[in-house]
Structure formats: structure tokens, C-alpha cells
Amino acid sequence: MKVRNDRDKSLPLPARMLHALQVNLRGGRLPEPESDGHSYFKIPANRL
């Protein structure tokens, strides 16, 4: 477990993570389209 935790501290986050969770928690759907008909991702700054 120590090896796992130490290793995790050295790993960058997956490049797609902040995009992926907001799609996957919608079952594999983009965010609801906005007034122009397009979907936009929401990316939190300095949260992770």
C-alpha cells in the first residue's frame, strides 16, 4: 500500500480526466447544449 501511495504521488493526472468524468457521470453524454446548440466542458482550476 505504501508503494502504491508513493507511486500515485509521482503520477500526473490522466490527460482526459477532467473532461471524462463530466461525460461519464452522464452515462457517456456531452453536457447539455447551450443556447447556441453546442456543448461546453467545465474545467475547475486548482481543484486537483
Binding site: H19, A20, Q22, L25, R26, G27, G28, L30, P44
Partner: protein
């Protein structure tokens, strides 16, 4: 293009398993089918996403659809083991194409609560409507004549589930990687290394003939626990040298 490999059914209560390695995300998608009825389930299918221009395409999922059609399979379930951090799930796309229900583990509700906080997006993730079924630990369903059992195996995420199909195929997602590349990471929100350790012990306690299909490859297991690990390790080298799978990075 994905790299495909099939593990044949061994007898009446044994599924055929085809893995599709998706090179951009390093993940393996699976089609598991009942040879007796040609009924099938799709597990952890990928919706391609290019983060540089935030664009999606359905190459990987379309290859699965082609495989389904070529083999004359009828899809009963579109399954995910957890809300992935490294790729988009293709479940909604496949549901539109195939009409089959999409499902995941019920603890996705707790994962959604964590992430709606991180995104400051209260109510954005209505998982009870996004999925047709949320499985609890111990739930059972069928793929054709094959029984499927759901085993909660948290650690990588708090709600990851393993699907055990028939008597000898377990889809263990991001828990147990191969021995020489270790386990999945456990540091995402809701992840926990101690919980992951216990989940891996439960997977290793499955019958010794169980084929473990992980997020990185699929392997036949044999022998004692130590022997099983050696077997997995040997198998993986076979994959990397002969089947063209790149070395997984975990």
C-alpha cells in the same frame, strides 16, 4: 485501430471473450458472449476523445459494432465497471445504436456527489436517469443463458464493480493489472489503496480456472495463487511479444 484478441468458450457455462485494445487511452474494451444463444454484453467501450481540440469520434465503438454484426451477436447489456478517468464511455452511443440498456455500479451515485462538488455543478449528474440499471454488490442477471454476478471491488474508484460471467470469466477493470506492472492507481477522488488491496484479494480468491480480463489485457489463469501470478506474467509477455499489445504504463 484497436488490436483484438479472443478467448474461446471452454464449455456450456463459459463465455467467449473478445478484447479490443484502444491505443490512444491504453484501455481494453470487451465483448462477452454466450455461444449457445449468441447473446452478448459490451463492457467498458471507449468513445474516442482528442483533448487537444475537445473533439469526439466513434472509431473504437464502431469497430465493436462491426464485430457484433460480423459474429451475428445480439447485445443485451452495455456495461461499464466504473466512471473512467482516462476515457469517455461509449455506452450512450451504443445504446442509441443497439437499443440495449446501459448499466454501472450503484455507488456511481456517491462518485457523482463528489464530482458535482468538484465541478460546482449541483444536480448535473443524474445517474439514476443516465443509466438504465445501477447494480449493487451481489446482483445477478443473464447474458443469454450465462449467469452474471456483480462483485463490488472498490479502490481505484469507490464504486468499481467486477462482472463475473458464466463460471470462468471475470472482468476486473482497473484493479489487478499484471504482476510486473502492479495495480491500478488509487489516488483519484474516492480512491483508496487499502480498499483496493482488499478488492484484489477477493478477485484472487475466485476459482483458479477464472479468466481475469483487466483494463489492460485478458489472461487465462492456472495453478496456485503464486502459480496464477506467474501464469499471468507469462501470458502478458506473450501478449506484448506476439499480439502487439504495448507495455501498459500504470
Amino acid at each position: 485501430m484497436t488490436t483484438q484478441r479472443t478467448s474461446r468458450s471452454r464449455d456450456l457455462n463459459s463465455a467467449e471473450v473478445t478484447g479490443f485494445y484502444e491505443p490512444n487511452t491504453g484501455s481494453i474494451q470487451y465483448v462477452v458472449s454466450d455461444p449457445a444463444t449468441k447473446k452478448a454484453a459490451i463492457i467498458d467501450a471507449v468513445w474516442n476523445f482528442d483533448p487537444t481540440n475537445a473533439s469526439t469520434d466513434t472509431r473504437a465503438a464502431d469497430e465493436i459494432l462491426n464485430h457484433i454484426q460480423a459474429r451475428g451477436l445480439s447485445v443485451e447489456w452495455i456495461l461499464d465497471t466504473h466512471p473512467h478517468a482516462d476515457h469517455f464511455m461509449a455506452a450512450a452511443y451504443l445504446k442509441k445504436k443497439l437499443g440495449a440498456p446501459q448499466a454501472i455500479g450503484e455507488k456511481v451515485r456517491e462518485i457523482a456527489a463528489i464530482w458535482s462538488g468538484l465541478y460546482n455543478a449541483s444536480g448535473a449528474f443524474d445517474v439514476d436517469h443516465a443509466f438504465d440499471r445501477l447494480f449493487a454488490d451481489g446482483d445477478r442477471f443473464q447474458v443469454g443463458t450465462l449467469p452474471v454476478r456483480v462483485m463490488l471491488s472498490p479502490g481505484h474508484t469507490l464504486g468499481s464493480i467486477t462482472y463475473i460471467v458464466g463460471e470462468d470469466a471475470a472482468f476486473v477493470h482497473d484493479t489487478l493489472m499484471f504482476p510486473d506492472s502492479g495495480t491500478s492507481r488509487a489516488d483519484f477522488p474516492g480512491g483508496n489503496a487499502a480498499t483496493l488491496f482488499l478488492s484484489i484479494q477477493a478477485i484472487l480468491a475466485l476459482p483458479e480456472s477464472t479468466r481475469l480480463s483487466s483494463a489492460m489485457t485478458t489472461a487465462r489463469t492456472a495453478g496456485s495463487r503464486d502459480g496464477r501470478l506467474r501464469s499471468l506474467s507469462r501470458r502478458r509477455r506473450t501478449f506484448t511479444s506476439k499480439e502487439g499489445y504495448p507495455r501498459p504504463i500504470t
